[in-house]
């Protein structure tokens, strides 16, 4: 049978990806330019017996998502810059309490209300450091409608596998543009479900590290009964201020994502003509599409340009970026903000190559010409 195809907006593709992944709870609050995600979920979730709730504010939306996740749901919320700012405290809650959930952020400019209908990529650092305290972060950044579908599925998988909030960031351009989508058949993409505890209810501890860095999470309303808090806690879930326990727990929660094994699993990059590249364009989201156009133009002019596109923004692809920094004469970081990921690149490549940047925050996309001009600067 031919696959189902449709012309979908990025936001619609995101909702369809969530449904494919088995999302059965959405708690949200309307905000441009992410609202279509909520609209599709409001229509589709009840059809499959799932729950949709429009909460009184962004904070409530994030709270309902964590509550539903603890009751066993695969839960999603979608927002944009200002809403993501409001959600930050509870994203931190999901980090420390280790609650799987997915937060979609359709990025616009800022700060504050900024330009609600214009595109931006100014939340990439917010996605990493927005909530207070030390914590790991996973953030994925698709650049096409088809990839929004598959990366949303992957976000749910990573949330369940690593027991933490996972953010999907895409900019307004990809969120609102329409492209043909091929719907994967059931089973075609991997769907990971939450690991269940293997011990008896009497033995169960929600943060029992004898099961590894990611202890299994039971669900409220099952035969397991447990306590969850946003305080630093011991393996039984109850608050502790014992220095050694607090330290070990905080370190474990970062290590579970940043250890080599997890990085290899979580990181995902696309490279285009990087093999012999003398200049690397580092770009993500819709900007990477301009960069690819620029690479083709430059190659036709005889410039050995290549594209490095991180699909996983966090954890940052440190190893590969370091290698490319040694290989290339120059690297150009193009992003719709006034310089955010460029500092990560700078931290990693150090002085091994010349670094250039293209930045834009006027609500217009970065066009290929701007990138090409900057490439010529660093060569």
């Amino acid at each position: 049978m031919a696959k189902k195809i449709a012309l979908l907006q990025g936001n619609e593709a995101c909702a369809q990806g969530a449904l494919y992944a088995g999302c059965n709870f959405f708690g949200g609050y309307p905000i441009t330019p992410s609202t279509e995600v909520a609209e599709v979920m409001a229509g589709e979730l009840p059809k499959v017996g799932g729950k949709f709730i429009q909460m009184e504010d962004e904070i409530g939306a994030m709270a309902s998502v964590i509550g539903a996740a603890l009751a066993g749901s695969k839960a999603l919320t979608a927002t944009s810059g200002p809403g993501a700012s409001l959600k930050q405290e509870l994203i931190g809650y999901a980090c420390i309490a280790e609650v799987p959930c997915v937060i979609v952020n359709v990025m616009r400019g800022g700060p504050s209300t900024g330009m609600p209908t214009g595109p931006g990529q100014s939340d990439v650092m917010q996605a990493r450091w927005g909530t207070h305290g030390d914590h790991a972060a996973i953030a994925l950044c698709p650049s096409s409608c088809q990839e929004i579908f598959s990366e949303t599925v992957r976000a749910f998988n990573l949330a369940e596998k690593y027991r933490m909030p996972v953010q999907v960031l895409f900019d307004e351009i990809v969120g609102h543009m329409r492209e043909r989508i091929e719907f994967p058949e059931p089973g075609e993409l991997e769907v990971i479900n939450r690991a269940k505890p293997s011990v008896t209810p009497e033995q169960y501890k929600p943060y029992d590290t004898s099961f590894g860095n990611v202890p299994p999470l039971a669900a409220y309303g099952s035969e397991y009964r447990f306590h969850v808090t946003g305080l630093n806690k011991a393996e039984d879930g109850f608050p502790t201020t014992k220095a050694s326990l607090v330290d070990a727990e905080e370190r474990r929660q970062i290590f579970k994502v940043e250890c080599d094994e997890a990085r290899a699993d979580v990181e995902s990059n696309e490279e285009y003509l990087t093999e012999d590249a003398e200049v690397i364009i580092f770009a993500y989201g819709s900007t990477s599409r301009s960069a690819r156009y620029a690479v083709n133009e430059l190659r036709s002019q005889g410039v050995k340009a290549g594209l490095f596109r991180p699909i996983t923004l966090w954890p940052f692809p440190e190893k590969r970026v370091a290698q490319l920094g040694e290989q290339a004469k120059g690297m150009v970081v193009a992003e719709m903000n006034l310089g955010q990921m460029v500092f990560e690149v700078e931290r990693i490549v150090k002085n091994t190559c010349k670094l250039g940047r293209v930045n834009r925050v006027d609500g217009e996309p970065i066009n290929p010409t701007e990138i090409m001009n900057q490439v010529k600067e660093v060569l």
């Binding site: 195809i5 543009m177 043909r180 690819r292």
Partner: protein, 183 residues
């Protein structure tokens, strides 16, 4: 590099130009199996203001999703013409609604005019189908998709009760454009 063809629809918010772009993208990518990307930009107004919808059509994957050099542009209002009828390539075309765009921006491209809103009101009896008339005209002028593909995409988009109305509007727009080109 894959060839790309860029079309821009512009007008007032609420005139259905975004829908026209979506239908064209569906005709190209779903019906004809080519590559298409549709995008738009709009102000805070749900009605009024100026809005634009762009469709990039190509035979290979489309990277940069916005217009670079516009092959064909539609402007339904003077405000839209002033704001969005730019970046049209040398030898390209601009189609305007003759009743609303009195001063089309001049350039090294052909300018055509059709009283699109009036046609919708007088000849079809419903202003709401002006976007479908415009779509028919743009397809006739550009040949970017087959006439039947456009019609099929229009009919797939509208409820049963409005199929005849939209079919009439689409073909009226197509014929009027062919007439002008033939002159």
């Amino acid at each position: 590099m894959a060839q790309r063809y860029e079309i821009r629809f512009s007008g007032a918010g609420g005139q259905g130009l975004i829908t026209a772009g979506i239908i064209l993208a569906e005709a190209a990518s779903i019906i004809e199996g080519r590559h298409a990307v549709q995008s738009q930009s709009y102000g805070p107004e749900a009605r009024g203001g100026a809005s634009k919808s762009e469709v990039i059509i190509g035979d290979g994957p489309i990277d940069y999703p916005k217009a670079t050099i516009v092959d064909a542009c539609l402007a339904m209002t003077q405000e839209a013409a002033d704001k969005y009828a730019n970046g049209i390539k040398s030898g390209g075309l601009l189609l305007v609604d003759s009743d609303f765009v009195k001063n089309p921006p001049q350039g090294d491209y052909k300018i055509y005019d059709i009283p699109i809103m009036r046609t919708a009101k007088v000849e079809v009896g419903r202003e709401i189908v002006a976007n479908v008339i415009a779509l028919g005209a743009m397809i006739a002028m550009t040949d970017i998709v087959k006439r039947e593909s456009g019609e099929q995409a229009v009919l797939a988009k509208v409820p049963e009760a409005f199929k005849d109305l939209n079919k009439k509007a689409y073909n009226l727009g197509f014929e009027k454009a062919k007439e002008i080109l033939g002159k």
